[in-house]
Amino acid sequence: MQPIIRVQGLGKQYHLGGPAAVYSTLRETLMDLARKPLRSLRNNGNGSRIWALQDIDFEVMPGEIVGIIGRNGAGKSTLLKILSRITEPTVGRVELFGRVASLLEVGTGFHPELTGRENIFLNGSILGMARKEIESKFDEIVEFSEVERFLDTPVKRYSSGMYVRLAFAVAAHLQPEILIVDEVLAVGDYAFQQKCLNKMQDVSTGGRTVLFVSHNMGAISRLTQRCIVLEQGHIVASGPTTSAIQLYMTSGLLQRAEFTQNSSAGKAMNLLRIALVDERGEVRSEVPYHDRLRFILDYEVNKTVNGSSVGIVLYTVDGTCAMVSGDFDSHPELLGTREPGRYQAMVEIPPCWLNTGRYTVTVSLANATTGEVYDHVEALVLKVLDTGTPGSLHGVGRKGVLQPILDWTTTQVSR
């Protein structure tokens, strides 16, 4: 069978220093030019380039849904941008045997001053729909979006939830042969996310080919049959989703006990750091089964928010959600108002409770009332070490997400 996407020897090189250094004013260019002879002496030529992607080869068959997974900076976004024709490869070739629509963001091109109705047409057209196509699907889109009543209101007056719903409704009605989707499901409330996932499944059963990037292993394992794992710009594995996810989660390199990110005034709430520490306060990614898991979270609140919550979610290697915990359990008052400032939170998972094995920890700073997500990071990968619990018979671990030590009361009742 003939593939619908064929990628051969694809690579993309960036200048180090990132896009920010490239954007310049005339004065800087002139000054650079003056300095250039010196710099080339100092720098020894072109050591300042990096390959964001290299030697990428793969094929996708029509009707397949393929997941692309990898850490931040592994090259996923670059790959999607090349496939979407937003940026050009440095080497290699891609052949696409079908119409492509890409969804790297929800609501691309939405104009705040235009009404919902007008934005449906504008956004649909930007995503590559013909006007007739939009007209014929208009009612369906409106119904899907659940914002009928506000159709003639400028979208700048929409809540962020409504905005996302409308934007996704348009995108969900795209009917290309190839759909490229980036991590766009991280926004919006849970129920609507599910609705979108279902809609996307419809898309794939309709014979459409989907390339799907996500950090949400649950969504990846639900939607895709096959995954490509990227690491540092290379494909390190490609195969059935279950084994690809296993590899991604268990690859030794990927264990991470601390995650930090910069302050971001643009976000209402922003995670600064999360670390897993042992009882002496040392950061570590491996915790013996008999010890407690203590997480320390630092985050900032940049404007007064109502109804917000800070939560962690643990996933097992196969993408199953092991548990969810939020600070509202102990601090219901924070669900009211959270004032701007820096916060530190600590939460512990009791010892002898989680089964041995690897887990990923996702942190979510969100609004429990509106469903708006302020910050969402897949932050840590940890390992609960087997310390020879009585139940781990013959070196084979127990099954299950939990391995609690429970009280059994046993009496002999007859003879």
Partner: protein, 279 residues
């Protein structure tokens, strides 16, 4: 998995482009609806949340005309080829205002559309083109003012009026050329944003808006012809007021317009592929 009939040849091939790559007009044609929608958006949004709304399209040339009339028509008593100075000035100001607004809008359009360019593919040329086209609506409104003024002065147009569409096309193409070139330059050098208003101010004085080209000593008139806007604006006056056309000036203006446009498209195409990386 069901079998899907695929075309034998790929619909899209993505590979590094050569240094010399021709603009794909087929691609632009395929995206003509987007051009329409982006133009429509710019028109819709332009006067949102302004008290005077579309009246701005008329006020700008109107006030310029009043000021010019006071200073140049009355105080300096400029010779305006027998045409009442207000009509003379407005006939120059209407295309000039279109030109200056169009190159400002399209010059800043790419940078202003960074969110689109980094998220969706479409032929990038559509962005400055839409910004230019949106200005045509203002042009039509301002033109209505000019028609009223001609009624007031009882200026009867001649058969030469038929030449007007050609002049409008020429203005639009020249604006597109200049705007497109600036928009590409602006991606790399944000100096454009500051240089443009300044440049437009200077350009006004050499575009025969205030004075007819006949007011310039013949020795220097050829220099004025190197500015297409001067020839085009004089062309508008000839078409509207039945004055003799300066054919050499118009010919040079047309030639330069085409050259500008071709160069702009070439320069734009050369940097187009890296917009998303540097914007």
């Amino acid at each position: 998995m069901q079998s899907v009939r695929l075309p034998a040849e790929p619909l899209v091939v993505i590979q590094p482009t050569k240094r010399w790559s021709l603009l794909s007009f087929k691609d632009i044609w395929a995206y003509r609806e987007l051009l329409f929608f982006l133009t429509w958006r710019d028109v819709k949004v332009r006067y949102k949340q302004t008290a005077l709304g579309a009246a701005w399209a008329i006020l700008q040339p109107l006030f310029m005309m009043i000021i010019f009339t006071i200073f140049f028509g009355r105080l300096a008593a400029v010779d305006s080829a027998g045409i009442p100075y207000p009509a003379f000035a407005l006939a120059g100001l209407v295309p000039w205002t279109f030109f200056s607004n169009a190159i400002t809008a399209s010059g800043n359009s790419l940078v202003g559309s960074a969110n689109l360019i980094t998220k969706v593919y479409f032929p990038r040329l559509i962005v400055p083109a839409a910004a230019m086209l949106a200005g045509l609506v203002d042009f039509v409104l301002a033109f209505a003012l000019l028609v009223l003024l001609m009624f007031y002065y009882q200026i009867v147009p001649t058969i030469q009026l038929l030449f007007l569409p050609v002049l409008v096309l020429l203005t639009a193409l020249f604006s597109l050329g200049v705007g497109t070139w600036f928009s590409a330059l602006n991606v790399k050098y944000r100096d454009v944003r500051f240089a443009l208003p300044f440049l437009i101010q200077l350009w006004l004085f050499v575009s025969s808006v205030i004075l007819p080209s006949s007011a310039i000593p013949p020795k220097w008139r050829w220099l004025l012809r190197l500015n297409p806007m001067s020839g085009i604006i004089e062309g508008y006056r000839s078409a509207l007021f039945g004055l003799p056309f300066d054919w050499p000036a118009l010919g040079i203006a047309s030639g330069l317009t085409i050259l500008t446009l071709l160069y702009a498209i070439y320069a734009f195409g050369r940097v187009e592929r890296s917009f998303a990386d540097i914007i």
